[in-house]
């Protein structure tokens, strides 16, 4: 097993196979040991390792290691372990096996050296992850999962078409810098953009993630979008369009997050907002900006995972996740509340927490490269993040008005998984050099200068003050049981509303036409199949007339044969 060329996804697929046929404690051991062993193995794999083989004239590089892919490989292993630990109490073969396969697919995708391998793992990501949504086993989850699967597979199909064009033009399927220049590159860009939740293409995320199981959402939040961020960082760094897209992604979801009632959907919106920062970084494309983007992806997996875990724990223990139905849980879930607040502080980028050391790289790069307007908008959304993810999530779940719910702390494995993520969030915030040494570029960036610490703290505390002021003035929008319309309204409400009358007209015309035809056939059958003496097939015929008909037929044949 200890050979460097062993592709990093293989242990996960083997682990999934073993998990499928084992039960109880053995399976739990397999679930935990798989990411640990695979991660230890990955630590021994040097940069530059390539495993390739030929397939139909193509050189497939199933496993190609460089600093960028290695960074994502490490964090995916950490995330897989934390997710597995968080879900250890679940006794559901479907979730556990698909969880391992899903993590393995994400790891396979980031180590894919060519576009065909990337495409295979791209689709595997979709197919393996949808079971984490369906495993909720509710009607809503089933329908949301179908929508999710359709959009994800669509992304794969667009990617495949792009790859075919790309391979035809460049005579190469190597996965490297592509850049926006022709149809093929645009198709691949859009495929990445769907998985990356670009504006207008984002709704699958906020639609499906909150419908998954309490543990499934934690898996989902870690992998799919980060694979897309990785793919963009590899193929499209320095594409200016990404700056505009990223700024929109960072800004618009925070408005939805403020009025959303389902707290896991709030986190889903906040996830798009965080990915926006990464996309801006990739769009700027300098060493500092790309470093900022990928390190923010690294940190986001940890703190967003931590927030999703704390909300998963709340859902697991209370069966409720709406802000309007929760509150006062700090009384009975104090540990979960504290862990949630560590995640909230990290995503808000408080000094000494992980968000602080990565988000600021993107912000600095925006200023250094003449994107002052982008910097202002990112600063606004950084304040907004604190507002909706940093304050709203802990406040409405654990404090606010007392909902009267009295429960207890979640199972030990959940607390343990959250604690690991929380410790990592603080550790990276306190000692960022450990993370910086893994980054693809060496920029000598130092987040802890007096200006940065002061300005960031000022920004956050006055955002908090705004929250306090709005609450005291009763201007803060209350949590209401509601659904907010988003882009999904088009394909869940408008299109069905237009298409249903159209199809009912179409089907009624179709029914009428077939009715006429069937009446004709039935009439004919009625005539033919009558068995009374005067029925067409039961009349007595003279044998002489038959002889005449035979001779006529023969005569016709004879005449025809002259031609």
């Amino acid at each position: 097993m200890w050979m460097p060329e062993l592709p990093a996804f293989v242990p996960f697929f083997i682990g999934a196979l073993i998990a499928l046929v084992t039960t109880g404690k053995v399976r739990q051991a397999v679930l935990l040991i798989t990411p640990v062993l695979s991660g230890l193995h990955l630590l021994t794999v040097p940069v530059g390792t390539v495993l390739s083989f030929s397939f139909l004239n193509f050189e497939l590089e199933v496993f190609e290691v460089d600093k960028l892919s290695l960074l994502f490989g490490y964090i995916f292993h950490i995330a897989a372990f934390i997710c597995m630990l968080f879900a250890l109490h679940v006794k559901d073969t479907l979730q556990q096996v698909s969880g391992l396969l899903y993590a393995g697919s994400a790891i396979g995708a980031v180590f894919a050296g060519d576009l065909i391998t990337l495409f295979i793992f791209w689709e595997l990501l979709a197919v393996t992850s949808v079971f984490l949504i369906w495993a909720r086993r509710t009607e809503r989850a089933y329908i949301a999962g179908l929508r999710y699967l359709i959009i994800q597979v669509l992304s794969g199909v667009v990617l495949l078409v792009g790859i075919v064009f790309y391979a035809y033009k460049h005579q190469s399927i190597n996965f490297e810098f592509i850049g926006l220049n022709d149809t093929a590159s645009w198709l691949i860009f859009i495929a990445f953009g769907i998985k990356c939740a670009f504006p207008m293409l984002h709704n699958w995320l906020t639609d499906a993630y909150p419908e998954a199981t309490p543990t499934g959402t934690v898996f989902l939040s870690a992998f799919t979008t980060k694979v897309a961020v990785y793919a963009l960082a590899r193929a499209y760094p320095g594409t200016e369009l990404l700056v505009y897209i990223g700024v929109i992604m960072a800004c618009f979801p925070i408005f939805f997050a403020v009025i959303e009632n389902d707290l896991r959907r709030v986190l889903a919106y906040s996830m798009i907002n965080q990915i926006g920062f990464m996309v801006v970084g990739i769009g700027i494309g300098t060493a500092l900006a790309v470093n900022g983007a990928v390190s923010h992806a690294f940190n986001d997996i940890l703190f967003k995972g931590l927030l999703f875990m704390s909300m998963g724990a709340v859902l697991h223990m209370t069966g409720k996740i709406d802000g309007s139905r929760l509150g006062g849980l700090y009384k009975t879930m104090p540990k979960t509340a504290i862990l949630c607040m560590v995640g909230a502080a990290s995503i808000s980028a408080f000094p000494l927490f992980s968000g602080f050391v990565s988000k600021s790289m993107v912000m600095s790069a925006a200023l250094n490269n003449g994107y002052g307007w982008a910097w202002l908008l990112l600063l606004f959304s950084a304040a907004g993040v604190f507002h909706h993810a940093g304050i709203k999530i802990p406040y409405f779940a654990f404090f606010a008005h007392d909902s009267g719910i009295r429960t207890s702390e979640p199972p030990k494995n959940m607390l343990f998984a959250m604690s690991i993520a929380a410790v990592l969030c603080v550790a990276i915030g306190v000692y960022p050099q450990a993370l910086y040494s893994l980054l693809p570029f060496d920029t000598g960036y130092n987040p802890y200068d007096a200006t940065h610490v002061l300005t960031q703290t000022q920004l956050l505390f006055f955002s908090a003050l705004a929250f306090v002021w709005l609450n005291l003035k009763n201007m803060y929008p209350p949590e209401l049981p509601s659904v907010n319309l988003d882009i999904d309204w088009f394909y869940r409400r408008l299109f069905p509303a237009i298409l249903t009358p159209f199809f009912s007209l179409f089907w009624s015309i179709d029914r009428a036409v077939r009715g006429v035809f069937m009446r004709g056939v039935n009439g004919l059958l009625g005539v033919i199949s009558r068995h009374e003496p005067d029925g067409i097939l039961s009349r007595t015929q003279l044998s002489g007339s038959m002889v005449i008909w035979v001779s006529i037929l023969l005569a016709v044949f004879l005449i025809l044969s002259f031609w």
């Binding site: 979730q95 199981t213 408005f255 009025i259 223990m317 007392d402 429960t407 003050l465 705004a466 659904v483």
Partner: protein
């Protein structure tokens, strides 16, 4: 519920004094942070930053605008909780198995331990 709470122990924020204290801490931090600007010389990268107290003002105003705009968005985006369910359950008739009651859900383990 009130009767139950009466027997229950007092928690940290059940006492309004503690809430007040927390708020005073926030106010004090905000004041200190503004005063620190006299002591610490900020590096200026963007012309807006030259304004005294730019970050506190931007953070406060930004968040108030955010909330007010979001509140306004509710007027045309908000629908009933079962807005989509009404539409979609028509196309997908409910499976026969029974629904969990609230009491059952409150037991925890709502992620379908098969």
């Amino acid at each position: 519920m009130d009767k139950q709470n009466a027997n229950e122990k007092q928690y940290l924020f059940d006492n309004p004094k503690n809430v007040k204290r927390l708020l005073y801490i926030v106010y004090a931090c905000c004041a200190v942070l503004v005063l620190l600007e006299f002591v610490i010389h900020r590096h200026i990268y963007h012309s807006w930053e030259e304004l005294f107290g730019f970050y506190p003002i931007y953070g406060f105003v930004g968040c108030v605008v955010l909330v007010l705009v979001a509140k306004w968005m509710r007027t045309f985006l908000m629908r009933d909780e079962d807005y989509y369910d009404k539409l979609e359950s028509k196309q997908h008739p409910k499976p026969a198995n029974k629904k969990q009651t609230e009491a059952e859900q409150a037991q925890g383990g709502n992620d379908v331990d098969a």
